[in-house]
């Protein structure tokens, strides 16, 4: 007999209703390679929850990895839950059905652990909606022994205070080992039938787990300071360090991923060729959060490509990373895959640099006739590119474009940001000038080029050199958008931009503190969902939510922070030192660039020394020596610096 705890809506009931919603196949499961275990016969049931729609969630590589890792454990059953689209939410509420898992249609509330993936701040209302649809109290303090443990990981977990009231524990850093540690701790605790607080304490004892309810937050002129609470015989760490895998080559990887029955946003196999990026772009959170660079060996990449293509039937595989042209064996790997052509598949590289080498790679991949080429100079003027450490010259951008036109491309898409720190109108107009020059190059090559300028508003992110900087206010961002649009008129030039209001909302939550939880809950109660979707976001409801809860969004989004300010994420360490970030910020103001440590010289960011890890390049190539040039070493007297071997304390970290 089926365990009643795990019974959601029956298929017979569901199929009479699914015809009422858009894309009902989002909710039916049945993917080739999906794992379905008997939930009643395992020790720990885990719902891997993605707070966005199915097609987005199934393309998320991190979730694929965790699904595979957790289901490889015989005592765990891991199933998936995605945010239902608004029509499905309405249907669930109308029918009184709980949000259910894809594999077994088990109610979300029946799982032992719910693990959310935090990829983007504008999914936060979806997290509350999913908990609510699962019949789970939103706030951690309202959940008891009969409720699931709610955890969350992903990049936003490194600055998670806006979610601190709703999430029991945050998992920081690489999840491959940490997820296993968490379910083991849970299993032991479950066997012993301990209290919920006992579970949270045990989790807080794991490296890489932050339990917000074990910390008080002190708000004063210094900032927002998280202070560990004293328990008898236990005190959570002052600073929680993110988990870092030493080697990617030894890490588990889903070589038999599940294949959705409807096309995901990335409908292809994915092989992560390396993790981490040391290009050092000063706006880029991922570039700071995933250090150090760890490459997979080319033989491992080859094997994974073959296995994934064979298992999936895909005719395309993507070699995924934050900057794929940086992979030490990229040309050899692409050449070999094309030459040996396993399973007749195409190869794609999702993120290329702005240089001729990258264009050459794109040309090798033969995408010119079917799609355009995307380059991301990020800023129009050399001054701004230097300020953000996008180490590419105008000549290199133009050379890359010329190579692209010569290779047969006629459609070039350029990504830029506006609203960057120190940006002037001239810098904005330089975007238009650069696009026009690229168009001219195309014309000279005998093309009728289309140059698409896609511009997003800069949002300062935690753990980056720009974490002290204000985001420009929406009206000013709109003025700069108009300025650029007026300069971008003419045949062959297209302008696309993001909603300034969305960027501002993202900027509030990116660097938010625990007080934002009230506004988040208020916005959820007002029906805010899918805030990242321009046709769904309700900025007026958000304004009301901020007003009603006494929150000034400008305090979070548009305020320049003092150097000494204690940030709401200072007690969570990415491994990159705050002093390094400040130094990078100062160099930005002087438009000085910093090299990539792959080139052999350490930049002194601190990750390798403090976390006892190292850059791992494929083929046994040497990474940088830890001995940075003296002038570039983080100042040893700086109280904000954590040196290798030091016991990390909050006092030291925050300069107190």
């Amino acid at each position: 007999m089926q365990d009643v705890r795990f019974v959601g809506p029956s298929w017979d009931d569901l199929k009479r209703q699914l015809g009422k919603v858009e894309k009902p196949a989002r909710y039916i499961g049945g993917e080739v390679g999906a794992v379905r275990k008997d939930l009643a016969s395992v020790d720990v049931t885990f719902a891997l929850a993605f707070p966005d729609v199915y097609e987005v969630g199934v393309s998320h590589l991190g979730s694929l990895i965790l699904y595979s890792v957790l289901n490889s454990l015989d005592f765990v059953a891991c199933e998936r839950v995605y945010m239902p689209w608004t029509d499905m939410e309405e249907l669930l509420r109308d029918k009184g059905w709980p949000l259910f898992s894809i594999e077994s249609r088990a109610p979300l509330g029946s799982f032992d652990i719910i693990g959310f993936s935090l990829q983007y701040e504008l999914t936060y209302t979806n997290i509350l909606a999913m908990l609510d649809l699962g019949g789970i109290p939103l706030r951690s303090e309202d959940r008891g022994d009969g409720h699931p443990l709610v955890i969350a990981g992903g990049p936003c977990a490194m600055a998670p205070e806006p979610l601190a009231d709703f999430v029991d524990a945050f998992a920081l850093g690489d999840g491959e080992e940490l997820a296993v540690d968490i379910v083991r701790v849970y299993r032991e605790w479950k066997k012993e039938r301990g209290s919920r607080v006992e579970l949270l304490k045990r989790l807080a004892g794991l490296d890489g787990v932050y339990v917000p309810s074990l910390y008080d937050v002190v708000y004063d002129e210094a900032g927002a300071r998280a202070v560990p609470r004293d328990f008898e015989g236990f005190r959570p760490p002052h600073v929680v360090r993110r988990r870092v895998l030493r080697s990617l080559d030894d890490a588990p990887y889903p070589d038999k991923p599940f294949i959705p029955l409807i096309p995901p946003i990335h409908d292809r196999g994915m092989v992560e060729i390396f993790r981490g990026c040391t290009q050092g772009c000063r706006f880029c959170q991922a570039g700071m959060l995933y250090r150090p660079v760890r490459e997979r060996e080319p033989e491992t990449v080859d094997r994974l490509v073959r296995d994934i293509l064979k298992h999936s039937g895909y005719d395309e595989v993507s070699l995924v990373s934050l900057s794929s042209a940086d992979y030490g064996f990229i040309k050899e790997t692409v050449s070999r895959l094309l030459r040996e052509n396993p399973c007749g598949a195409r190869v794609s590289l999702p993120s290329l640099r702005v240089d001729s080498f990258s264009v050459g790679l794109a040309e090798m991949l033969g995408s010119s006739a079917t799609s355009g080429l995307t380059l991301a100079p990020e800023a129009g003027s050399q001054r701004m590119r230097d300020a953000i450490n996008k180490r590419v010259t105008e000549e290199e951008v133009l050379e890359a474009a010329a190579s692209a036109f010569s290779a047969g491309y006629s459609h070039i898409k350029l990504y830029f940001m506006i609203g960057l720190p120190g940006e002037t109108d001239e810098d904005v107009l330089d975007i238009a000038r650069l696009a026009s020059r690229i168009r001219e190059i195309g014309r000279k090559k005998g093309k009728r080029p289309t140059v698409v300028v896609s511009v997003s508003g800069f949002v300062p992110k935690p753990h980056t050199p720009f974490q002290w900087e204000p985001a420009v206010i929406p009206d000013e961002l709109r003025r700069r958008q108009r300025l650029l649009r007026s300069a971008l008129r003419g045949p062959g030039l297209e302008f696309r931009y993001h909603d300034a209001g969305l960027s501002a909302l993202e900027a509030v939550f990116a660097r938010g503190d625990r007080r934002l939880g009230a506004a988040l809950e208020a916005a959820f109660r007002k029906g805010c969902r899918f805030d990242a979707w321009p046709d769904k976001v309700r900025l007026e409801a958000w304004s009301e939510a901020f007003r009603e809860t006494g929150i000034d969004p400008a305090f979070y989004a548009h305020r320049e922070r003092a150097r000494e300010e204690v940030f709401p994420w200072d007690h969570l360490s990415s491994g990159v030192r705050k002093a390094f970030l400040w130094k990078e910020r100062e160099k930005s103001r002087e438009t000085l660039t910093t090299w990539d440590c792959r080139e052999g010289r350490c930049t002194g960011c601190g990750i390798c020394a403090d976390f006892n890890v190292s850059v791992r390049l494929a083929g046994g190539r040497r990474g940088p020596s830890l001995e940075a040039p003296p002038e570039e070493r983080a100042p040893e007297t700086d109280a904000q610096t954590i040196e290798a071997g030091d016991e990390i304390s909050h006092e030291k970290w925050s300069g107190r």
């Binding site: 409807i262 039937g313 079917t370």
Partner: protein, 217 residues
């Protein structure tokens, strides 16, 4: 060599659209390592034709696709490989070689026989509405598309309706034969909707509809 497959789009995958079904078949054929003949051109695609699209929500018991293959592989081996590669909810019923001179599929399809299962209705009301529908010379239905509303006369497409049967309390099952005319046809859901004109209050989105078979000339 060209082969024709008779397959099932079963209950569990009824909510896939036609393009989704085609994609599932294409991926399954690649997993099954069929020696698919590819189209010419810059972006070669396997030569597969998946016929007689079914709407989202409708299952099909005997559906058809053709595939062109390199060489003359053993059909039994192909069938075994494909059967074990299809996603749950699909099934392969038959596989056989066909000649190049075969008439185009869409030209020889005459009708689809659907089974329609509706809840929350009395059998008398269903009978009454069907009688009204069948006696009418024209029954118009507005097909709403993103950029247009197209008015279709459903009546000539409905070739016949079987005697409704009670399948439970306020639950009725009936068969419906719907014509195909040079690739044009209508959806059984549209017919159900149009029964509102004949006093039957039924939400076609809640109906369970299966295409039992495709009828050829």
């Amino acid at each position: 060599m060209k082969v024709r497959a008779v397959y099932e789009k079963g209950d569990k995958v009824r909510f896939l659209g036609h393009l989704d079904v085609s994609r599932c078949i294409r991926l399954a054929l690649r997993r099954a390592k069929w020696p698919l003949e590819m189209s010419q051109g810059f972006s070669p695609k396997p030569r597969i034709s998946v016929y007689a699209p079914l709407p989202v929500g409708v299952a099909g018991m005997r559906e058809y696709f053709d595939a062109s293959l390199r060489g003359r592989p053993d059909v039994g081996a192909l069938a075994r490989a494909l059967a074990s590669s299809l996603p749950e909810g699909f099934a392969l019923h038959e596989l056989y070689p066909i000649g190049d001179g075969e008439a185009p599929f869409e030209e020889i399809v005459r009708a689809s026989l659907y089974s329609v299962d509706v809840e929350g209705v009395k059998i008398e009301a269903v009978r009454h509405a069907l009688n009204g529908f069948l006696k009418a010379r024209q029954v118009f239905f507005d097909v709403v598309r993103p950029k247009e509303v197209k008015r279709v006369d459903l009546r000539p497409f409905v070739l016949g309706v079987g005697e409704p049967e009670e399948a439970g309390v306020d639950r009725v099952v009936l068969d419906m034969a719907i014509a195909h005319d040079k690739g044009r046809t209508v959806r059984p859901q549209w017919v159900l909707s149009s029964l509102g004109e004949f006093d039957l209050d039924v939400d076609p989105r809640e109906a369970i509809i299966d295409r039992r078979k495709i009828i050829f000339e």
